[in-house]
Each structure stands twice: as C-alpha cells, then as structure tokens.
C-alpha cells in the first residue's frame, strides 16, 4: 500500500496546524462578535434530502450538488431495473449552502424558535464546481441572519454585526457599499425596460465597478429586451458614485424626489434612514457608502443590499441583504429575513498574506526538555505546574541529548525551550532558552509565564 495517493481529493484541502490554528482563531473571533450582538448558533446535518435541495439553486446549482449513493438492497434494486435511472440511485445530497437548511429549520421548529431569530451558522458546504485557484469544492460558509422582521432596524443590526465581525478579524480599512433592490427596480421600470428583463439587467448593472459605465451601456444596449435607447435612459437615471457621504445623501434625496410615489421612492428614503441609523450604531465615521449600481446578482433579494469591499482592491469580504421571499419556502408562511455571508475563505487568505492577524494565542509557547536521567514523574510534575500557571506547553517525550531536543523544539514551532536538569529540579526552576536569539537563563517555575510573555 506504500504508494497509494495521499493528496487530498481534488478541490478540497488539508489544513495543517499553522493554517488550522489561524482558521479556528478567526472563527472564534467571528463567533464572539456574533454572540455580542445577540446571535445564536444553529447546526444542521451535512446531508439533506435531494427533494429539499433540488430546484433551489437554479439548473446549474442542481448539477453542482454532491449526491450520496444508495447502499445495499436499495442500490441493488435500482441497478436491477433497465435502464438504470440516475434518479433511483440516490435520495440524499450534501449541503450546498446554509440558507436552505435555515428555511427547513424555521419550518420544522417554529414553536421552539423566537419570533425574531438571530441565527448564525458556520459550517462546511460542498459544491462540485470546477476546481480553480481560490475556489474550492469544500469550504466553510459563515452566515448571520435576522429572520422574522421586516423592520429597518434588522437591516441596520445586520450591518452592525457584520462591521463588528470584520473589526474582530483585524480589518480596519473597508467600506460597506449599500443599495436597495426596490430602488433599482423602480429605475429600471422608469427607463422602460420590461419587468421580465429586470434580472438580466441587474446582472449587467452589477458589473459597473469592474468594467465601467461605457461597457455596461454597451452590454445593456445589446440585450434584446433593452436596446440602446433604454440602456442610455437607465444609465441617466442611475447616478454615479458620489464624492463623499453628503453627496450620497444628496443623490438619495434627489432620487426620492424624481421617482413617483411607490416602492422606489420608499426605498430611497429607507436608505437615508439606514444611513442615519448606522451613524448612531457605528459612529459618525461609519464606513458606509451609497453604491447606486450595486445590484448583487442573486435573484432573491427584495430590499436593501450590501457588499463590503476591502481597501486596496482586495475584493469583496462579505455580501448580503434583505430577502423576504426565501425563508418561507418550506413553511409556506411569509418570513422576512436579512443577513449576509462572510467570505471567510477569501478573508482567511488575506489574513494569512497580511500577517496582521495572529493565532499565537492558541499555539504552543514552549517545549519542556528534560535532560537524560530526569525521572518521568518529575518531568510531568513540572509540566503540570507550568500548565496550571497558564503556559501552553509541549513536552519532549524521547530520551535525547540536549542538542537534539532543541531541534525538536524548533521543529514544533515553539519560541522557547525550557530545559530541566538535576540542578533546575533541585532549585524549582528551569532554564528558559529563547530559540531565536539563543539567549538562556535560569528562571524560577513561578516566574516562567511572565518570562515567556516578555
């Protein structure tokens, strides 16, 4: 068996300790931010019925769902038929996102859940996508949603917790781009584009930041249901981004005045109110901007939509919005909701590259290196004392000369070796050696934690 392939399967990753420490520390911080804002965790099974999953992610999505093969008699029966039908081979699939499970859970446990449910969910999802750089077939999704209220306070709170989660991860320079689906719909209608072409129009409009106004105009003009005239009219109605916050508010008030009474005008005034709420929630310097052409491709959004972009072109860190039609899909009850996904896989890449983030707080600090001849019970007694004092301590387990032991300590990635010989044992101390500088000195056991800190 010596030559069996040992790489992880295509599109999936092993996270070795250094990466896994960073991941776990990042998720711990995000969870703490969620908890501080009254969000509680939900966990659902990796598998769902195919009947639950299929038809929720479009035709392309259906193709990307991993299906679990029947076993035993059930499989034999399916294979006994002619022709064998693919649909008979499986009835379970792997979780594709965390929104369909949320919808299922809210339908199943309505009586046990609060009427307004702040839930977060951090679990793996699987998509049989073409594997490519930065896109994985297994990745951790990290969603927070407020389910059960259509109040603008819920939208504001979703943005507040998103802001807090990014701050907890060490991001300080990012912008929350804000728009409203109803505002876009009203502008599209006002430009004469028929309602059934709204979705494809939104998809093109959303590219503004990437390809620019000219290219959007030309792509829109090329759509059969739009054409150059309506494209031009729409781009006259959708303003460019303003210089500053005051400009944002001016544009929103202008749009509100320009639109007829209705959902579009309300949307503009909702956004003005949301800006005001966020000033209270995040402080006057709240990094929120009106992004008139932000559309977010997903068809299910119904209200405010948002996206967080990091400074320096590092791309989108998170995105979300209000989606009042989705969570009720299994319960049959209208269930308004607003929430977001943190793009944790990209965020983790940035954290690892940036180095602004350290998981040192949970990595081992030191390795205890007993010299040959020290009794195991004494080694472990000293280890116990140090751990009780808060030192995250590895113990070198093999009987080796000091030089080899120091090599082991370096290989384990700790910064300090704590050398324990007869003399140290007698004096209730150990020799603390900094593995980077090579400096070492004898330190009483009680003072070791402080020495390692300094």
């Amino acid at each position: 068996m010596g030559k069996a392939p040992t790489k992880p399967v295509s599109g999936m990753r092993d996270h070795l300790p250094a990466a896994a420490l960073t991941r776990r520390e990042a998720f711990r911080r995000v969870e703490a931010a969620f908890a501080a804002h009254g969000f509680v965790p939900l966990e659902t099974p990796a598998m769902e019925r195919l009947s639950t999953l299929l038809g929720k992610y479009g035709e392309e999505g259906d193709q990307l769902i991993y299906r679990v093969l029947h076993r035993g008699e059930r499989l034999a029966r399916a294979l006994g038929r002619e022709p064998v039908e693919p649909g008979d081979l499986s009835e379970l699939g792997l979780r594709y996102d965390l929104t369909v499970p949320l919808a299922r859970v809210t339908a199943e446990y309505r009586a046990q859940l609060p009427p307004v449910f702040r839930r977060y969910q951090i679990q793996s999802v699987w998509r049989a996508d073409r594997a490519q750089r930065g896109r994985f077939r297994e990745f951790t999704q990290c969603d927070a949603d407020i389910v059960g209220s259509s109040s603008l306070v819920a939208d504001a709170e979703a943005l507040v917790v998103l802001h807090a989660a990014l701050a907890a991860l060490g991001f300080s320079d990012f912008t929350i781009l804000l728009n409203h689906r109803e505002l876009l719909r009203a502008l599209i209608a006002a430009s004469g584009i028929p309602a059934q072409s709204e979705q494809e129009t939104l998809v093109v409009l959303d590219k503004m930041g990437k390809i620019g106004r000219e290219a959007v105009a030309s792509e829109l003009g090329g759509l059969a249901a739009v054409g150059p005239d309506r494209a031009r009219r729409l781009l006259e109605l959708v303003p460019g981004a303003a210089e500053d916050r005051d400009g944002d508010l001016d544009r929103l008030r202008d749009l509100g005045r320009a639109l007829p009474e209705g959902p579009g005008r309300s949307a503009a005034s909702d956004l003005v109110e949301l800006f005001d709420a966020l000033d209270g929630a995040l402080g006057e310097a709240a990094p929120v901007r009106f992004a008139p052409s932000l559309a977010r491709g997903l068809s299910y959004y119904t209200g405010p939509i948002f996206e967080v972009v990091a400074a320096g072109g590092a791309g989108s860190l998170a995105g979300g919005g209000r989606y009042d039609g989705l969570v009720g899909m299994f319960s049959g009850r209208a269930t308004p909701a607003v929430g977001f996904s943190l793009g944790m896989e990209r965020i983790l890449m940035l954290l690892e590259e940036g180095g602004a983030f350290s998981a040192e707080g949970s990595a081992p600090q030191a390795m205890l290196c007993p010299l040959p001849g020290i009794a195991i019970r004494d080694t472990l007694r000293v280890a116990r004392t140090l751990r009780a004092a808060g030192v995250r301590l590895d113990v070198q387990v093999d009987s080796l000369k000091l030089g080899k032991q120091l090599g082991r300590a370096a290989a384990a990635g700790v910064r300090f070796a704590l050398i324990l010989g007869e003399q140290e044992l007698d004096g209730d101390c150990c020799t603390v050696r900094n593995l980077e500088s090579g400096e070492q000195r004898s330190v009483p056991l009680a003072d070791v934690p402080a020495t390692l800190q300094s």
Copy 2:
C-alpha cells in the same frame, strides 16, 4: 411546496441554538485543554478517495461508508455499461473516522510536520449505521494523538491531556482504567490459547465488567480454539480488580514476576512506571486504576490501553491506547502513535442532563427594548455603548408596545430586558428589568454590565 418534509434526514440531527451553544462551548473548552498541552489542530476534507477508506474498518465498516455518486459524463458512461457495476458509480466516500485521514496526512506532509506530532482533530464523521437512540449517522469525533514516539512519556502525556479535557468539561468523578495489550497477549499465550485466537479471546475478555467472570469463562470455554480448560487457565492468570492503588501495583509486580522475560513482563513494568509518572503528572490522587481484563476490542492496539468511566454507571467517556502499526499504513514507515477519542456525543448528553455545565458565557444576556418613538439611531447608539462594555446584547427590532417587547425578550431566552424611553435616553441610562422576578430599576449605562452580573 408547503408540505415538503422538514425533519432532518434519518440518523442526523439539527442542533437548535440551546444545544448548539452547549456543543460549541464544550468543544472550545476541550480545545483550550489540548492547546495547553501543546496539541495543535488538523483539519481534513469530508471526502476521501474510496481507495483510501476501503479495507481499513473491516468488512462491516466498508458497508457503512457513505459513497458519493459520480456526476455528469462519468455517471452517464457508468450507466451506459451492462451490467452497471456498483464500483463504477463512485470513487469518493465520506470520512468514517479521523485516524485514516491522520495516516494519509502524515504520509503526504512528512517534511512539514514535526518528528513528534501532537495533533488534535475535531470533525464530523459519517457512518451509515442503523439509527438508534444515542447512535447517529453523523457525529463529531474528537481525537488527540501523539504521533512519532514510542516513549512511555507520550502515553503518559496522552492520559494527562485526556484528564485535563474532562476536567475542563466539568467532570470531577471519573476513573482512568489502564491495561496493556502485550500483558494480555502474554497471559493468553501462557494459558495455551493459540495466537490466531487472540483477537476473539480479547473481545470476550473485554466483557468482564459487563457480564462478570462466570459468563466470560463460559463464553471463552465455548470458543472452539479455546475450550473450557484454557479458559479456566486464562481466568486464573488474569487477576480480578484490586481494592486500591497499592493493590493494583502489587498485582502488576506479581504478574511481572510470574511471566517469563519478554514483552509481557516489560508491559507489566511499563504500567508500573506509567502509574508512577501519572502520580507526578496528576498528583497523588490521580484517578488511575489497573483494569486487568480491559481489552478494548479494536485489533490495532499494541501497547498501553485505557478507558475512562464516569462515576455512577454513566459509561465510557473516552478510550484509547498505543497503536504503533496504523499511522504508517500509507507512508510505509513504522510510525508509533498513542492517543484517544473523547466520546463527545455521550459526554454532551451527560452535560445536558447533568446541568453541571453551562454555556451561558456565550448566550445573549439582555435585550434592548426601545419604546415607540425612540429614533433608530439612538437605539443603536445605546446598543453600541453597551456592547462595547461587554454586554452580549440582542436588540428588539420591531415597533411594539412594551408588553409585547418583554414577551419577545423572554422568547429569546435572555434574563434581562433593558428598556429605553425618552427619560432614560436623556439620563444616559436604561431601565433594567429582571424577566424572572419582574423587578426593575433605572441604571446608568456604564453600570449595566455590573448590574447584569450581580
């Protein structure tokens, strides 16, 4: 779609917030204990090649592996053949345990891992087992292992971190039962039972605690390769449990003297040394006992074996031992290892029943209830102040009368409602209402955290 089934799939569970909070807090504590002992995390994909998984868990295990169906052209090709071969339908399966992935990882990344690798892994595994009470098809496995050393210090350290993890979970009354595979093998050989019947003999012997000596004798006597005489002889050689620790050590020394020079005698003296080491590591009152008939069914153990039982018959909390032949299965290099699995699903059941454990530290503490007319920006400004001071705070988002708001707060499971009206806003305070007692009083915002604690 209103009537689609919304229960979780058979054998798998939704963890609603109260349960999920407990789970996450429990795993956090276990992780902190692992980290304090120099263990670092590993994460591997949910899917492995079937060639990696098959043949590692026995024939029965192979049947319990969930297989992932091919898609697209690959599936079409397989279905185009006649007859359709089940083996052509799939090449990936879901993780069945965490040991095979560990073996794969140590083979693949040898140069990146330290020579002695303390790894823990906490991830879901899937087994298509018959669903029954307390047995699930998806459950979280929690393993810690020290890979790469055959030193007894590694065995001791595995027991030390196991003890610390259970203590971190709030268990104080448990016993670590200890035995040694080589000791059992020597006793089986000395009783005249042929080596090829060793495994089935161990399986029966392991039942001693459950069914008693008489039943074990009769079951062993009934095995064709054993028979009544050898069964009797073996049970004369395997002592009963001693009264106390001193008795344990006497029995081990007696066994060491009775056995001929060889692995059995060494095993007895290793256990004596392990007891001594654990006295140093855990203190004199270390809850460790020699369990002469503890065998642990799994065939791969090669050295010390152990099991932790909770007081009061609550059963096994964890089990493990040394298994020097397994981790090298993919690398082809001998790779000694010792470790254990925490039975987290049972532990979590005990924690939930026992109530000795609280996840309150991450549940929301209070709900801010703004009276009608309070501006959103003011509500969220106050929320920001309270959260910055460390209050885990939900905010009531809908415009409701106070009575309804208090109902919402109770439904969210918080203990306090923080009422915010004009008067409170002017005075930079809020009215803190204890939802259990109904008591309420006005408290300056700065004093709210302390008030909620008391």
